[in-house]
Assembly symmetry: D2
Homo-oligomer: 475 residues x 4
Amino acid sequence: MRTFEQYVEKLRGMRPNVYMGGKLVPRDDPAFMPGINTIGITYNLVNDPQYRDLVTATSHLTGETINRYNHIHQNTEDLLKKQKMTRLLCHKAGRCIQRCMGIDAMNALSVVTKDADLEHGTNYHERFLKFLHYFQENDLVANCAQTDVKGDRSLRPFEQQDPDQYLRVVEKRADGIVVRGAKAHNTIAPYTDEIIAVPTRAMTKNDTDYAVAFAIPADTEGLYLISVAHNQRRRKEFHAPIANAGAAHSITVFDNVFVPWERVFLCGETKQAGQLASLFATYHRHSYTGCKPAMTDILMGATALVAEYNGVEKASHVRDKLAEMITVAELVYAAGIAASVCGKRAASGTCVPDVVYTNVARYHAGVNIYHEFETLADIAGGLAATLPREEDFVNPETKGFLEKYIMRKADVPAEKVHRCYRLIENLISSEPGAASQISGIHGGGSPIMEKIAIRAMYDLESKKEIAKYLAGIVD
Amino acid sequence: MRTFEQYVEKLRGMRPNVYMGGKLVPRDDPAFMPGINTIGITYNLVNDPQYRDLVTATSHLTGETINRYNHIHQNTEDLLKKQKMTRLLCHKAGRCIQRCMGIDAMNALSVVTKDADLEHGTNYHERFLKFLHYFQENDLVANCAQTDVKGDRSLRPFEQQDPDQYLRVVEKRADGIVVRGAKAHNTIAPYTDEIIAVPTRAMTKNDTDYAVAFAIPADTEGLYLISVAHNQRRRKEFHAPIANAGAAHSITVFDNVFVPWERVFLCGETKQAGQLASLFATYHRHSYTGCKPAMTDILMGATALVAEYNGVEKASHVRDKLAEMITVAELVYAAGIAASVCGKRAASGTCVPDVVYTNVARYHAGVNIYHEFETLADIAGGLAATLPREEDFVNPETKGFLEKYIMRKADVPAEKVHRCYRLIENLISSEPGAASQISGIHGGGSPIMEKIAIRAMYDLESKKEIAKYLAGIVD
Amino acid sequence: MRTFEQYVEKLRGMRPNVYMGGKLVPRDDPAFMPGINTIGITYNLVNDPQYRDLVTATSHLTGETINRYNHIHQNTEDLLKKQKMTRLLCHKAGRCIQRCMGIDAMNALSVVTKDADLEHGTNYHERFLKFLHYFQENDLVANCAQTDVKGDRSLRPFEQQDPDQYLRVVEKRADGIVVRGAKAHNTIAPYTDEIIAVPTRAMTKNDTDYAVAFAIPADTEGLYLISVAHNQRRRKEFHAPIANAGAAHSITVFDNVFVPWERVFLCGETKQAGQLASLFATYHRHSYTGCKPAMTDILMGATALVAEYNGVEKASHVRDKLAEMITVAELVYAAGIAASVCGKRAASGTCVPDVVYTNVARYHAGVNIYHEFETLADIAGGLAATLPREEDFVNPETKGFLEKYIMRKADVPAEKVHRCYRLIENLISSEPGAASQISGIHGGGSPIMEKIAIRAMYDLESKKEIAKYLAGIVD
Amino acid sequence: MRTFEQYVEKLRGMRPNVYMGGKLVPRDDPAFMPGINTIGITYNLVNDPQYRDLVTATSHLTGETINRYNHIHQNTEDLLKKQKMTRLLCHKAGRCIQRCMGIDAMNALSVVTKDADLEHGTNYHERFLKFLHYFQENDLVANCAQTDVKGDRSLRPFEQQDPDQYLRVVEKRADGIVVRGAKAHNTIAPYTDEIIAVPTRAMTKNDTDYAVAFAIPADTEGLYLISVAHNQRRRKEFHAPIANAGAAHSITVFDNVFVPWERVFLCGETKQAGQLASLFATYHRHSYTGCKPAMTDILMGATALVAEYNGVEKASHVRDKLAEMITVAELVYAAGIAASVCGKRAASGTCVPDVVYTNVARYHAGVNIYHEFETLADIAGGLAATLPREEDFVNPETKGFLEKYIMRKADVPAEKVHRCYRLIENLISSEPGAASQISGIHGGGSPIMEKIAIRAMYDLESKKEIAKYLAGIVD
């Protein structure tokens, strides 16, 4: 397995194709370091005895010990461990751990390449396994580029006035394919090794050119990563883990990018394109059954802490709201457990979580995220928004006043109160905090997408039959 | 195992001590038959090949095949099966299947009698196992009488002006104890074999007389069952399963009732009294992870069916609301699965579901029940409330008009629409329907009780530690 | 003005055409008396000095003092008074006061007949004023029959396979018209003097036959009132106002009913048909800004009372929930006030409440009604559903037990606790209680209808302009 | 009346006592200009014929035309106009207009100084009127410093270990008083003329030193304004009004500040201190009945615009969510209207809005604010968070890609879509956006404070009487 330093070293050697703030920037730009540090947690904990068992796995390909973020789930236990790992590592980052995309895309590809081969006699699965071998051996990080920019939302891919609004094959050559289009919201793309492109939706027969999936290095010729970073204000004196983590996202432009055949995993199979879109979503939503409870844990922990410091932790409305936060976290996590233990193995041998439990979990997390921020804001009070900057706590002219007047209970020193509110400001009154609300809704699919998945997968007819039976209706 | 007929026959032979509507009534009073029929489902399905595996179990005491409603859960698989059985049998009844109380009380007693013996050197567990043997062998039905009438809610048991407001031991004799008090909301008590009394709350050292648990036949001298039944209006022509099931409840008065020692399972052990109160609640709430999804299935099925008959099943708001009903049902059920698979064996060998997952599941069900009724009312429209009585659909002067004007889509006959709305009227616009909303909140413990359990059992300190870590706070 | 006795006397003299439970029944059938008594409140309070000013008005036609339920609103003050009267009288009834339909239909007709005349040169308004004169002079009660049975919901009136699924003109004669069809959910129809039929929806050019409005006596030849009554269980000993009020509804069948021209108020004017449908809804929803807060007052009062009797009135969650009930009641009432003071006079001189404020008020009431029942159920506890029947509180064998064990605080006698729970049972655990939830959603138009009205009437474009201005977008 | 330029000129001449980011900064620091510009709207619109009538009033003291933000409400019409003015001016600012604090504090003082005089024979009201004269004549801006830092929340002012945790009188001199303490969350303090200090809570007899109210210039010796600003990222190319407005807040330290007697409005009157705390809250919450609907208008307008640009404006879930936004905005505004028209004149002649309607309105706004942000985020999609910076839309290497791939419907140019998403980013994915959620909860008092006010002011006893009447309970 790689070290964090090897991961960063490789990033530094990549072809510069990342743009930000109007400039071409290096991959180790200071604005990306918080994101890179977040990924770093997944490398560093491999050596921590407390986490080692969770963060590593045994490759079913090679029998080698690999990072679990590169593992193909072989059984329900693997699904449970991935869920638990996700929750614990997000605690360390104080936010989304980000590396789940890779594992989710790879697992989905493992299933779909096999199914495509079974239906079409292709050899995608063999290609995939080779790529997987390389991926595990080099302990790589992958972004999954799924969401197309989509142009006019009322038109299908092939109906768009500009045909590039969904990523598509513009040329097939002997040695590979050429693709054009753009994928949006690609978190970690600026500091990833690989970009795995998968379709964003179900396809019709007319959408053949859009039924494409592949993996390429993130600095491949023709790729443009137009990026934006969301980081906390840099700390100068009152350093803390929450301020060291961050994320960056890109609109990833594929400007006639060549992909060699051995990296192509679907090309024209519209049915499997839809299956892949849906299956990546399922795996990624299953990841959310770990990370969203973690996010609730963090918000809940901050709520409980500030309530304690303010001396209101026994107030009935505080206890009530904490119980509601617990309920959201544990319902989502419990449904993730149910999705795991009810997982089924696909033809490829990969274990797939139950789709209904996965979707109800992600849905419930998504529709509660704003309310969780609201609860912390409610209990913390206005100081979350009006806290003076760190420097005013250092300036000798103001430091004394701020330390005097930030005091709550006599036995909690001013610095602890200050640090607690700085944490809360970072969580709920900052640009990254605001952005995390939005990703809390849309990441892995918006609530409306989960509702659509739930309705599509649910056996509602059997429920009508129950009603008919009870009513004495015989068809 | 008993047949349904044997069960009813035994009821007929019991000493009359059931009062209703100002009179002493027999146990097979027509008002109790819908409740008795509901219990009957648990007897009859034993012989149905489709259900046999679920509804029976192998006694860990005798190795005999017994009704699962009399089984002590030996492993997580047993918990999963009990949850599933509960869901499926409630579908058959169109409501609460009622017999779960027995299994829940027996399992709680199996754990607590053992723990009491380990702490106090008593021999409760041996007594319990003897009773269990008798219970399984005779395939009995038990009511669990838990909720005391409680008098002044701001006072503890020993502080009440009238000391009988909580059930208590008023005399200890060589051959047994004498108890006085009353238990409320005892569903199935009028048609049960046994009444198992367990404490309703945590006890202090001063509450010793109230720390009592035992089982007695429901017609024991000194027992008065003052009952009320909730049944659907009897059908004359348009018979249907929904109208055949029902329930009755009693305030069960213990007027100096003698309990022989072999039927006494706690007597003075205040710590175990609290444990038993809480553990019965846990098992019973775990039952709710099966029955509440079943209730949602029924409401959801009726919603989907009436939407189909009305031709609005594809309307966006209908689909949306159905997806929300599915989400509630499956979150609750999923959390029940998680509670089952995370179950742990107690000293007695009995498997206990995870208490946090159990409580978040029951809480979520409880706070959504009214909204589910609302959704069905919303989609069904006012006819749920204004549907003329069955007789008007028979009277030749009005029958033609009603059949003409109840028509919706041309291909759905009037009778089906009528039956569908009659079902909905039964579910949401009837006395039993209204009562089921209330039991949907309070049965097994009100939402506020689950919140208290959640807060008590949850490791909130570890969440504060996460917040401190992220904030850089070192204690 | 009539006395209550004169009103009942007239009912007794009407032609029998009310069917219930498979039989032709008299209008003073015991099942209708609770509804009749409810209407009686509006007659009796005329003589109560405390209510006289509110319950009477001065006819703008004759200058005579009339019952406000027969008054055409001349100004915003009239709207405010009608709203207040509705709230206060519902307190007396413990439920919907029912007579508002008449005033709402008459006001809508006063506006639309004038507008129709202005556009079409018809003389509907003159006819209407003559009818109004008769109506006020005789102090009549009117049902407004609006909701057609509607057949296939996906088809317009003229598209239905059975053309009678919406009430329509089947013949025009020199002396009047003949109509056929059926109207549903006609509360008070079995004990009303007049039935006023108005259209249920917007009409297209093809729906001319369906664009019809008129008023006829409720016992007109060809009218069949197939009825159902929702009353509380009759009290024998513990009499109380809540048990004296009730309601009945009918499906009103128009089987070739002749309507003389002087009673016809629209006939073929499709545009005004839609306006009338919408305007009656607006007036009726404005009535709900009075009655729904009254319903909340009752539920809130019961909640506060039972909390006091149980000794939990200072518990934080109780106070919290009461504050939320207050908020719902007063937001709805406040929006009714705003609708009243922002009312505008139509061409006829009638004052029309603001449509947006009216609809947001009704919507908010409608989406909160189930939750209000839930709150009372939550605070009252299971006894709301399991309370033994009145007779058991009289039977000497059980009376002592029940009085002993229903006690809460020592200073609240058993009878008060019993009466309090009997009230709550009546409100939330009875057939009429369940039906009132459904009418709480659908009466005056379901929440989805209010949303449609809100969107239709709201100036959303101006809000987009604000967004464009702030974004610097120039079209 | 002053011009905007005169206002800014005066700010420049004030003694520097504003600290930010560790430095003493001038009042026209670039970070304060967006806030200053926001206040500027209230000066500039005075000359706009469209707004003049609303933004000005006639002083009841002098008969002069003054800015309405300096007016004492004489009648319900004034309350309605202030509410309407607030809504319209917030549209212009794209956020809180901020100057309402002054009018709210001055109105509260006008009432309470009079009431104190009536009870205590003091001459506060005369002092106040003199100050009001000066305030109106010079067209000043005032911050209302209400919220004390409060130390240990479980202790009253006089019980705190550090007695300065609530602002207090430390010395009374012949010419005035000396005060010490700190007030938090003082929006506009860095760019205001005056600071008006009022108590934050009800006081007991022991809190005499804390019962103090006064007004002083914001640069008075001993005042330290430790500030933080929340502004949008400065635009370089795509200028827009949303980016020009902003706000700053301070913790305002009173380090032995001298206040001459003519500026002291309460000093030791504990009863009136509580009245003033509550009355300022009432006026300020009444302001929220204008500004919160405005905030909803802006979020709703952005939601409707982005839905239109994305081609989903007719989607059922979009229309549904817009209807819900409208409902929140108009319920709050309607309750503000009701509070205005039900306003009553105090002894001083000042009109006070109805406290219950005011509080239910503010409460409803406060508990919906996060959900409104959620709705916009939901409809806008992830691009709200991942939109590249402005510079990337200018950089020739990336501009073409971004313009190609941001396209939605063919007839909406890329720049409009970009501007629309930039607005949304500013509203919901920025530091000021996040801070505005928190102020949306806590500004003018948190929801829990409104609940407390509602319960305190509401006649719940009369509702219990209704329940007793209906139950037949006679005390």
